[in-house]
């Protein structure tokens, strides 16, 4: 009798382990999934600013956006994350990576060894990017100076320190969809939607998260408590922006000034350092998307 119970228990445990293994299995892209594309370095530099890479990955405490030694601490309810070195250094950075490795990191949240990255790296947004833009960005990053640095490991308690479990998280929150323009919207709004939902990864802070740390996509861009600590992240959904014209928004992204000439601070200051590098057309496009409740329904 006891033996039979034991057998059943072992069988159940094996089924459980098998299910866990299947559910959490990494699902990388293969070389055949990549477009045949020569990196456009100028567009790669542009994507570097559109994607806000330096805000987290620039050497902590420095002010050179192209010195990518990492080290910034990102606090969260799950523990502290430390932004890694993404300079072309082969030891400390990502110098040894292939283009496929880079696209898998950006769009699947997978390391070259197919370990899961934590979603503090906003691949849930970067998955929306055109692969060409990602490849261009890789080309640009390769031109920067290698930086040696040692970044602390993430400080996460059990069970969040088990990267394998993120495979299950990804089934819930990484839908694998690239950006699809909405034919009912203008080209300007679609371009803004691309920049907001993809490289700009605005929702990663401006959309609240559920208990598992996934974006509450039904509450798109409505803001909420600041997961990094005190204060609130303001809502930037169309309904929150009645006091802002499209021009006001574009000007804020250029200068950091609100319509009452308050100067945006906190982590938005770093965002403005990036958006100030974009073209006026793109800042207007972002603003057009933010003012369009209709666009925020279909493009998120």
């Amino acid at each position: 009798m006891l033996k039979r119970v034991l057998i059943v228990l072992i069988a159940l445990a094996l089924i459980g382990a098998g299910a866990f293994w299947l559910v959490t299995m990494p699902r990388p892209l293969t070389a055949a999934d990549l477009p045949d594309h020569q990196p456009d370095l100028e567009n790669g530099r542009y994507m570097f600013f559109a994607g806000g890479c330096a805000s987290c990955h620039a050497t902590s405490g420095g002010d050179d956006p192209f010195h990518l030694g990492g080290g910034l601490e990102l606090k969260s309810p799950f523990g502290s994350f430390y932004a890694p070195n993404i300079s072309p250094d082969p030891e400390d950075g990502i110098g040894g990576w292939s283009t496929l490795d880079f696209v898998n990191a950006m769009q699947k949240g997978l390391s070259p060894e197919l370990e899961n990255y934590y979603p503090s790296f906003p691949y849930t947004s970067y998955q929306r990017m055109r692969p060409q833009d990602v490849i261009d960005l890789k080309g640009f990053l390769d031109t920067l100076d290698p930086v040696t640095s040692s970044v602390p490991d993430h400080a996460l308690p059990f069970p969040f320190n088990i990267r394998r479990t993120l495979g299950g998280w990804k089934l819930l929150f990484l839908d694998g969809k690239q950006f699809e323009p909405d034919p009912d919207l203008t080209d300007e709004i679609n371009r803004g939607g691309y920049l907001v939902t993809g490289p700009g990864h605005c929702a990663e802070c401006h959309t609240p998260r559920d208990m598992l740390g996934g974006l509450e996509r039904s509450e798109w861009l409505v803001g909420g408590p600041n997961p990094e600590g005190e204060g609130r992240v303001p809502g930037i959904a169309a309904a929150d922006l009645d006091d802002w014209s499209q021009g006001d928004l574009a000007y804020a992204l250029e200068s950091g000034f609100t319509p009452t000439f308050d100067s945006l601070g906190g982590s938005m200051a770093a965002v403005i350092r990036n958006t100030s590098q974009l073209t006026a057309e793109d800042r207007n496009a972002i603003a057009a998307y933010l003012k369009s409740a209709q666009a925020q329904e279909t493009l998120r």
Binding site: G256, F257, S263, G265, G266, A270
Partner: protein
């Protein structure tokens, strides 16, 4: 007429600021100073954007408002004024007063050097806006927490 309106608004704001100084309410005073700063930088920004005609008097008055706002500003953050009055001051101010004072000095110095060579044309407005605005952003980045 526009002159009068501008001068009137500025004086009204500065009077409010002076009133809270007199009442020895540091939180209300620093908030009032920040409103003055917003009005002053807004004048420069509107000229730079072409929403307001260039006016050397108004532009240079704005720089003076920012200069006087920054002078002694950090004394409005005494111990005991960390919370209350819907303050958006970050606790980091009291953890790192020297760092906070250095940021305030950046504004003071930027305004002082423009005061020494007053704004004479629209390009001067744009240059001043850039130099002053950078100091707003850098201090708010480190020492201000948005509550709403």
């Amino acid at each position: 007429m526009k002159h009068l309106l501008f001068a009137g608004t500025t004086i009204a704001l500065l009077t409010a600021t002076a009133a809270s100084w007199a009442a020895m309410d540091p939180i209300a005073t620093r908030q009032a100073v920040m409103k003055d700063n917003g009005a002053a930088i807004g004048t420069l920004a509107k000229m730079a954007k072409g929403e307001m005609d260039f006016d050397a008097t108004a532009a240079n008055l704005s720089v003076r408002v920012l200069y006087s706002g920054a002078a002694g500003f950090t004394s409005l953050f005494p111990a005991g004024s960390e919370t209350g009055g819907e303050t958006e001051a970050s606790p980091k101010i009291w953890e790192d007063m020297a760092g906070f004072e250095a940021k305030n000095d950046d504004l003071l110095n930027a305004a002082a050097s423009i005061k020494a060579t007053p704004i004479a044309d629209l390009d001067g407005v744009k240059a001043a806006l850039g130099a002053l605005g950078k100091t707003c952003q850098s201090c708010h980045e480190a020492y201000r927490i948005k509550k709403n």
